[in-house]
């Protein structure tokens, strides 16, 4: 039947009223429920930054650390070897073929294995060994790499979160993306360059003695203040790991910005010992392979606190303190994608988007009214209900509205009338052959149903695929397009149909049926 039962009609009104309620939560000054549609970065301004960790240096470092245990294992078990070579991603050595099985068994021993860690999560070993004639090649296994990446990624996210929280950005989003990437979203940020600098720094701090002779165990580094070349000992006296706090301050005498740091107990002891033994020598403070400053040790420092001065601006000293407090990243990190939108462009986009939405909406409404008169009016009412429901659902889901998302809403406005058009055109055809008007409407709705569903499912498929593959703003488009299809079906088959039935059943003379 064309008309609905009372209970169905009530449900339709209930859904409509709840949609209006949720949609109205977006109006200003609402304190009822804290729910509203979020604006995407392209509309409110902000930065989208994709970071990628570079684990290669860490893999090499980990392999280096395996060298002594491996050699020990070989010697203890009387396995002769030669040509022990460490390359960035593997260790190779020459082993007699007869001993290879023994080595392999030792290498994959389940208990008391000092070389190869067993990763219980994956039930696999960290390292792999492959033999090629008398050559053995030791490498990280795929699972070893994944678990290394994962742990590095988790630590990095933690450190990045600390850095961003310290800058004081509102509502940042920090998410893991795949096994090597971190996504950072910073809405409403006013200085993205500064944050990028803070994110990209590994911030590996070391204190090392400056030496006179350019021999083994030292390297040449540049003092960033005046480009002086210094020969710095490779041995680390203390590192950033020993730091418990760092704060920006002004030097009492020179009034220059400096960073005051506090060491933990172990660090304080070491620092005291070194400074006592090396009075008169220079101590280089090295951050990520460049020397920030290299002051002379005038007296022993045993209190566990010290200062770093390097001709900083106040901003630089604040940032350095922040980096030191948050700790060093376990691996270097690179920005692989960045999208920043300024707040004024975001506002312009909203204005243009909303304006074109209103104009498109009015055009469609006028068109439908001219074409279908009273039923055009019904279709228009259901179109408005459709929009309200879209906003309501977006609010309930707390979805993010982007500029392409607004385009999706406008497109829905254009395409939503399709269902009503399909139905009305069908009814028109039925009216040509059918005597009873009510019956014609009923058959019209039923026959058009299959087509309407088929037509909408295809668009829904496109929306779902876009949602899966799209990123950022495009995802927002998929969301509004998908929600639009559902609300369109509801408004055509419930709201418009209900209104149609009310008119058709009350209009005994049939004066409105000029479709």
């Amino acid at each position: 039947m064309l008309s609905f039962t009372k209970i169905k009609v009530l449900s339709i009104y209930f859904i409509l009223i709840s949609a209006i309620f949720f949609a109205s939560l977006n109006l200003k000054n609402n304190n009822l429920i804290d729910k509203n549609v979020n604006l995407g970065l392209d509309l409110q301004g902000g930065s989208y930054i994709l970071l990628e960790i570079d684990t290669k240096p860490l893999v090499n470092q980990k392999l280096q650390a395996k060298v002594i245990p491996i050699k020990k294992l070989l010697n203890e078990n009387k396995i002769n070897f030669k040509d022990f070579i460490i390359s960035p991603e593997s260790i190779s050595l020459t082993v007699d073929i007869k001993k290879q099985t023994k080595l392999k068994n030792l290498f994959f021993k389940q208990t008391k294995n000092t070389v190869n860690n067993f990763i219980t999560d994956y039930n696999k070993f960290e390292l792999d060994i492959n033999f090629n004639q008398n050559k053995a090649i030791i490498k990280f296994s795929n699972f070893g790499l994944v678990s290394l990446n994962n742990s590095v990624l988790k630590q990095s996210i933690e450190i990045i979160r600390r850095r961003i929280d310290d800058v004081g950005t509102k509502e940042p989003t920090i998410l893991q993306r795949g096994d090597k990437r971190i996504l950072v979203e910073l809405p409403g940020i006013d200085n993205p360059e500064r944050v990028k600098e803070l994110l990209g720094k590994t911030a590996q701090l070391t204190f090392r003695l400056v030496s006179e002779d350019d021999g083994f165990g030292s390297e040449k580094l540049i003092l960033s203040e005046n480009n002086e070349e210094l020969i710095v000992n490779k041995r680390v006296v203390i590192s950033g790991d020993n730091l418990v706090d760092a704060q920006p301050q002004f030097d009492n005498q020179s009034n220059q910005p400096i960073v005051l740091f506090t060491l933990d107990r172990q660090g304080a002891q070491k620092f005291g010992k070194i400074t006592t033994e090396n009075v008169g020598r220079r101590l280089a403070i090295v951050l990520d392979n460049s020397v920030i400053s290299a002051p002379q040790i005038r007296e022993s420092i045993t209190g566990g606190t010290g200062t770093i001065s390097g001709g900083f601006s106040f901003q630089e000293s604040t940032d350095l303190a922040l980096l030191l407090r948050s700790g060093a990243l376990p691996a270097p990190i690179n920005i692989v994608e960045e999208r920043t939108v300024g707040p004024d462009l975001g506002k312009d986009s909203i204005d243009a988007g909303i304006f074109s939405l209103i104009i498109g909406f009015i055009l469609v409404i006028i068109f439908m009214f001219i074409k279908y008169r009273i039923f055009g009016l019904i279709s228009n009412i259901s179109l408005i209900a459709n929009l309200v429901m879209m906003v309501g659902i977006l609010t309930i889901l707390e979805a993010t509205l982007t500029l392409p998302g607004i385009a999706g809403i406008i497109l829905t406005v254009g395409m939503a009338v399709d269902s009503n058009v399909l139905i009305y055109e069908r009814i028109k055809e039925e009216l040509k052959t059918e005597k009873s008007i009510i019956h014609a409407f009923d058959t019209g709705y039923n026959k058009a149903k299959i087509t309407v569903i088929d037509a909408n499912v295809t668009t829904l498929i496109a929306a779902v695929i876009l949602f899966i593959f799209g990123s950022g703003p495009v995802k927002g488009f998929a969301v509004t397009l998908g929600i639009g299809i559902i609300t369109t079906l509801f408004s055509a088959y419930f709201i418009a149909r209900h209104l149609t039935s009310v008119i058709v059943l009350n209009d005994k003379e049939g004066k409105y049926f000029k479709l």
Binding site: D42, L50, P192, E193, K196, E197, N334, I335, V336, E338, R339, T340, V341, G342, D344, L345, S349, A352, G353, F355, S356, G360, V364, F367, M368, K371, L403, P404, I406, A407, I410, L411, V413, G414, M415, V417, D418, V421, L422, E425, E429, T451, D454, A455, V457, T458, T459, L460, I461, A462, I465, L466, F469, S471, G472, P473, V474, F477, A478, L481
Partner: protein, 299 residues
């Protein structure tokens, strides 16, 4: 049905026309290629607003004559004083790069420059995004193919997919001919076109199936003709309302949505054409008759 338009009379000529359009598009796509934006090519995109509205594009261009940037393109973007700059260099290699560039440009043209939008995509990410875009389109096409195959017979599925490919290829071909930029939002537009064109085709196919069962003595082409005519007013009205909405985005929605809405407008027009003149004739080529439908139902 007195004022029926004899569409099937034009099927052959339309198919030849479509074939030529597709071939030309493929030639352009193959030899000229697409003008990829930073999303797919990597590099940096800047949208800037210059305080001094009288600045000429030439002076801005010469201020950006910095070898380090690589290939630079500058174009006006919406209002006076607004420009879109693209260059090959990946600005993420150095965190200070953007702020330094801002200072250099401001000094050279002697006016305050506001960087309204900065997009930098590294080479690895851009190639991934391209791969994702292509996968998404291929996946969407296959999903449509599958859906129609379930709902109809394989001939319909093939007909609709030929129409879809036709739409996608010609839309991209026009983008290639006009050297319009292809970025992520164009992929979104192409996917929506796929959905829209499919929608249009399904409506006609539904009617063809219904009419095939209703009339047994008509030829396939005649059935197609009747069906297209019966659904014609719907096809026209829906295209019109969709186009009204799209033109409103294209004209009033701001510069960022221009490419997207342009692609959609193209797609809606081509999609509507293809549902009538590409998808329906295919059924005739495959000799779809009432028997095809009935035979399938028996299985």
């Amino acid at each position: 049905m007195n004022n029926r338009i004899n569409f099937s009379k034009f099927f052959n000529i339309a198919n030849i026309f479509s074939l030529i359009a597709v071939l030309i598009s493929i030639m352009f796509l193959f030899f000229k290629g697409l003008n990829y934006g930073v999303d797919f090519k990597g590099g940096t995109l800047l949208e800037i607003r210059i305080e001094n509205k009288n600045i000429q594009i030439q002076s801005l261009r010469s201020s950006l004559n910095i070898p380090e940037l690589g290939d630079v393109s500058v174009k006006e973007f919406g209002e006076k004083g607004d420009f879109l700059i693209k260059f090959e260099k990946n600005a993420n290699e150095n965190e200070k790069f953007i702020s330094d560039l801002k200072d250099i440009v401001s000094k050279k043209i002697n006016s305050t420059v506001n960087f309204r939008r900065v997009e930098t995509v590294g080479p690895k990410v851009s190639s991934e995004l391209l791969k994702q875009g292509v996968t998404a389109i291929v996946l969407a096409l296959s999903a449509m193919l599958f859906y129609i195959w379930i709902r109809f017979e394989w001939q319909f599925s093939l007909g609709s997919i030929i129409a879809l490919m036709h739409d996608v290829i010609i839309t991209l071909g026009i983008f290639s001919i006009l050297s319009f930029e292809v970025n992520l939002s164009i992929v979104a537009a192409v996917l929506t076109i796929v959905g829209y064109s499919m929608n249009d085709t399904v409506v006609i196919f539904d009617r063809i199936r219904e009419n095939l069962l209703k009339y047994s003595k008509f030829k396939t082409n005649e059935i197609a003709d009747i069906s297209v005519n019966e659904t014609l007013s719907r096809t026209v009205i829906t295209s019109l309302t969709t186009l009204l909405a799209l033109f409103s985005i294209f004209i009033l929605g701001g510069e960022i949505l221009k490419g997207f809405s342009f692609a959609m407008i193209l797609g809606v027009i081509i999609g509507t054409y293809s549902s009538i003149f590409v998808a329906s004739p295919v059924l005739n080529y495959f000799k779809v008759t009432q028997k095809t439908l009935l035979k399938d139902d028996d299985i």
